[in-house]
Symmetry: none
Subunit: 218 residues, 4 copies
């Protein structure tokens, strides 16, 4: 791998600072985590977006959340076809090996992936329809969400995009249940599912309420 470069100096400095402070002050906990292994209470499926730090929002310590991050916090449907499925593998590991108690899907505002899906499905981004577009093929998971939002006949496109962000959470929750090990854990009451949507600019957080099919402020 001749192409690999050294870490930029300012990041090396910051790391050394972290080691001399946060690490040094909590060495006991880091060693405990290394020796005893992780026992996270929850798995969080969040977006790669640089603006969404679930550990900050929930004051989470090292060891609390098993976090999978992908574009638009999507869960694809169950498809045991022998291919590489990163999200499904993370899910399987969290539920069957780590036996997490909670599965949280965390959507957010201003989502580039969701906007790409909206553009693709509304014909504004034909390049995303190509077979070679990884982003497009990934966002296909949310295509059923676009159709639901379209059926709402919203006048305001910004509102439609926001609804699609929320649909990404609901569809992921639905897809979670297509995994036999998730379904049986939920039905056996050893696992609970949660859907959240986070407003980056306003610092808001909404929880999906299945009774009303709405997101309500936490």
């Amino acid at each position: 791998m001749e192409y690999a470069k050294p870490l930029p100096n300012y990041l090396a400095k910051r790391y050394q600072g972290w080691k001399a402070t946060s690490y040094a002050d909590n060495k006991v906990w880091y060693r405990h985590l290394a020796e005893e292994g992780q026992r996270p209470r929850a798995m969080v499926i969040s977006c790669c977006d640089s603006r969404v730090h679930v550990t900050s929002i929930f004051g989470a310590d090292q060891g609390e959340f098993f976090i999978h991050r992908n574009i638009a916090n999507l869960v694809p449907p169950y498809a045991p076809d022998g291919d590489h499925h990163g999200t499904s593998a993370a899910l399987e590991f969290a539920v069957t090996s780590l036996k997490v108690a909670h599965l949280i899907v965390l959507g957010h505002s201003n989502c580039g992936g969701v906007n790409g899906c909206y553009d693709m499905c509304s014909g504004q981004a034909p390049e995303l329809e190509k077979k070679s577009s990884f982003v497009g093929r990934w966002m296909d998971i949310l295509r059923p969400g676009y159709n639901r939002v379209k059926d709402m006949n919203l006048d305001d496109e910004a509102e439609a995009r926001r609804q699609l962000e929320k649909a990404a959470v609901v569809i992921s929750l639905e897809n979670l249940l297509t995994f036999p090990f998730v379904k049986s854990a939920v039905e056996g009451e050893t696992l609970s599912l949660h859907g959240l949507w986070h407003d980056i600019g306003e610092g808001g957080l909404q929880n999906y309420d299945p009774e009303t099919d709405m997101f309500v402020d936490v």
Copy 2:
């Protein structure tokens, strides 16, 4: 989605505390991020492991790192077959849309996914060889790494597992270069690749040095 539950109360409380403090004190920055969009300097490919917080280690603010997290921080080889590829989609979005300058693969000690791969390849976990095992099929990406480690003829199995964690970083870096958009950005000097391995218990950080093919302390 009748199964979704409300957010556990202690998480709701923590969120409300965050909103009244960290968010309130930095409202300006969160709004800036929402309005101006994200411009992360780097994409980090890290593990889902609950013990690895790259934002802490590097003192990173909201907005600095676009973070993809999957089991064992793996990048699969380029395969534009029209299926859902979460890692490849995140990569494509980061490199072609966000135009990040750095791509950092961050491996770590005590990795459950890597240990699963070791067990599978050494015949200690036949259940992972099944077509239906998402973890096994995902860890197939690292199978060439197992063969490299086996060729080292190490007596110490713990050391062999550690070498496999490091191989996961190197193989991911190699696979990154199979993506045409990564290769051309690296060759065009608009993107640089970095491989790191983090020791959870000791707070260590090592950087992959291509000249010696070794990981050296940062």
Copy 3:
């Protein structure tokens, strides 16, 4: 400009070393910065003092902070009289063009400019009162601070000088708000102000707390 001299050889050597190492390793980032333009998160108003490197203290990379440095980190009051106002121009550019989210005034210990102001106002340096003294006329900005410190009736002159260093930060923050574009950005919650004082010898950092009107350790 017949007087210009070549760069001293040791500086040319150091530059060539930087280019062959730091620049070469991070060429990608420097090109990114050149092509995409700067998007600093904050403006820092710091002193020219050779001992104060805000980028070191905060592990800041190229591109993070827009930095104005003048004697004693002062902001003069708003005065749109058509003259050359370097500080006001830097402020206007940062707030209205770059739309930084944070404005940080960083004072420090052992400040020669502040000591000059103290000497001038206490009658120990009459030469600074002359119209032709640029340092004296610049330090006039801090004269209201001297009066505040005098009203504290401190016995210890070293402590009084330290208080004047801190007053330089507070008065600059007050003067910032006389600029209409700063005031409206602060009130519109797109800009936040921060006052810091740095102890060079002890490596200390204190933050101005408006509730108690005191500086407290970070």
Copy 4:
């Protein structure tokens, strides 16, 4: 100053890391600097631009360079009119109190201030001509440079803007000599002047050569 906010947490963390590493390792030097005062070898007049770190380029330690940073690294002409002149005050302090040996004006590529001047002088930014524009009135210092560049009759506007960046260095050097204390120090050979231009993307550095009136690679 009711508006002041606490320092964002990630900056507080980074500072604490710096204190535990860079500061702790060099406490002796920081204390020496605090107790003995600064004795910088040079004054550097650089731009506020977040991408230009003169301390990096020249591997400078705390204590080496007295650094004034303003928009476009400009020095206004000598004007002892009793007003607040930040640049002139910094200059006076460096030359008459600190007795620096070198005065370095460091220009750079992609300069927003210089581009503003170009736009203003070529009629593309009439708003900068207003009396109330601090940026415009500050960039008036460079107006004679625009006229020189115009006289070059360059076809390529990008090249003309680059020439104006270099003219900003030469005009600042010329204005330096209008200060009696600079002129007498230069003529008495206790101070030397240097003009540099830095290419951000290419990591280049050029030195002004008065014999040819050209900038040549260092």
